[in-house]
């Protein structure tokens, strides 16, 4: 379970997010809101990329403030632009990056990479230079690079924004097929209809929280 307890996040004297209490237990949660509403701050607080100025965010009881490393093992993060997420020159090497950070031995590492590449249909691209991939392939590599580390939760920060319709469908099918708990930040409201819960942020606070239809309606009402 992910829990926010008295969380305030400020930067340069400006309060960007205030969440007095919130528990996230559902398997698929959507996060919506206008630009600057606090979505990025919220999602970065979940895996300790940011720590709150006040209060505590805990993941299965682990504090993002004091257990950063353990939290990042539990919470994977897929960024909007895969170009900024893929850090190794070839596909296989990029998948190995996270596993090496977790201390996997060579044989186990190779086995996991083979399995991940096969699962995402990327086996033929193992030695391909990552900057030569298409946008859709890059996003799949970014997702594979995170899921191969086997986190319990995965945050997707607008993963379909830079994709065409075909690749968007492919990436969403991949996300739908994940066994992990997923938190999807998106401006694309159509993607969230089947989610278990949607949270709408507005001006750094939770504006609406509940079933997708109700929350999306509340969000739309902000812009009559």
């Amino acid at each position: 379970m992910i829990a926010f307890d008295g969380v305030v996040f400020s930067r340069e004297g400006r309060e960007l997010l205030r969440i007095p209490a919130l528990e996230l237990t559902e398997r698929r949660i959507g996060l919506i809101g206008a630009n600057g509403a606090g979505k990025s701050t919220f999602s970065r607080l979940l895996n300790g990329l940011l720590v709150p100025s006040e209060g505590e965010v805990t993941i299965d009881g682990l504090s993002t403030r004091s257990d950063g490393k353990k939290v990042r093992r539990k919470v994977g993060f897929v960024f909007q632009n895969p170009d900024n997420q893929i850090v190794m020159p070839t596909v296989g090497e990029d998948l190995a990056f996270g596993l090496k950070n977790l201390g996997f031995e060579k044989q186990e590492l190779a086995r996991k990479i083979d399995a991940a590449l096969a699962h995402y249909g990327l086996s033929d691209l193992r030695d391909r230079l990552t900057h030569q991939l298409s946008a859709g392939e890059k996003q799949l590599v970014a997702i594979a690079g995170v899921t191969v580390m086997d986190p319990a939760y995965i945050i997707f920060d607008e993963p379909t924004t830079l994709l065409d319709l075909g690749n968007k469908k492919k990436v969403m099918a991949t996300i739908d097929g994940l066994s992990q708990n997923v938190i999807l930040v998106s401006h694309d409201l159509d993607l969230l209809g089947s989610f278990d819960r949607v949270i709408c942020l507005h001006d750094g606070k939770v504006h609406a929280d509940g079933r997708p239809d109700d929350v999306i309606a509340a969000y739309k009402a902000l812009f009559p």
Binding site: F9, R11, E12, R44, N47, G48, L49, L50, V51, P52, S53, R65, G68, K69, R72, R73, G76, F77, F79, N81, D83, N84, Q85, I86, V87, M88, P89, T90, G92, E93, A96, F97, G98, K100, N101, L102, D127, L129, T130, H131, G145, V146, M149
Partner: protein, 211 residues
């Protein structure tokens, strides 16, 4: 070496660990300058070319490694011929060609991660004097990964500026590229941190986790 990358094959040279291959280039780099004989220089260069055959690297791929160096080698040869004689020019060019080909062969037959691991092992003793070996090897990987990205960003900015009528302004290209790369470096640092890389686990005063 930076421009070339791994060329998948199952050969003896591909299977050889990165350490001995890097050592070979270092030793070759020293030995090739000990003999001042055109026959030795030619034999060394020929030997390296033979290694390309052993590694089953196609001629087109080998040429790709050399083509950027050829104009420089031509200039060096002409200058040496002018200053001394053509034999000296040939020796110098053969030495440099052997070294460039050998270094490229290492990158063509060695995965980047294996090379980085070898560097990391090589630099390990430096950790005792405070060098953060993990960060150095990570920087090498990032350089290899992002050189093509910087090239692409520069191309995009240049096209955007041309569309606005700025044909030959270096400043108009350089500034947006630098700003974009700085923004990108923040995102990359977040991405690296999010995938459990850390030399140490710290947060800056603004609450930001920092690699």
């Amino acid at each position: 070496m930076i421009g070339s990358f791994y060329h998948e094959r199952d050969t003896l040279l591909h299977r050889l660990p990165a350490g001995p291959k890097l050592l070979f280039v270092m030793v070759l780099g020293t030995m090739v300058f000990l003999f001042n004989d055109i026959r030795v220089a030619a034999a060394v260069c020929g030997g390296v070319v033979l290694l390309y055959a052993v590694a089953r690297v196609p001629v087109a791929v080998a040429w790709q490694q050399m083509r950027f160096a050829v104009p420089l080698l031509v200039i060096i040869f002409a200058a040496q011929w002018f200053i001394a004689d053509w034999r000296i020019g040939a020796i110098v060019v053969l030495r440099f060609a052997a070294l460039i080909l050998a270094a490229s062969l290492v990158t063509l037959t060695t995965r980047t991660t294996a090379m980085i691991d070898a560097f990391e092992r090589f630099l390990k003793p430096a950790a005792r004097i405070g060098v953060n070996v993990r960060m150095v090897s990570m920087s090498l990987s990032l350089a290899l990964r992002f050189i093509p990205v910087v090239g692409r960003v520069t191309q995009q900015v240049r096209e955007a500026q041309r569309a606005r009528g700025l044909e030959n302004s270096i400043l108009a290209v350089a500034l947006p590229v630098i700003i974009r790369m700085l923004k990108m470096s923040d995102d990359i640092a977040d991405a690296i941190e999010a995938r459990s890389f850390s030399s140490e686990d710290v947060h800056a005063e603004d609450g930001q986790a920092r690699v």
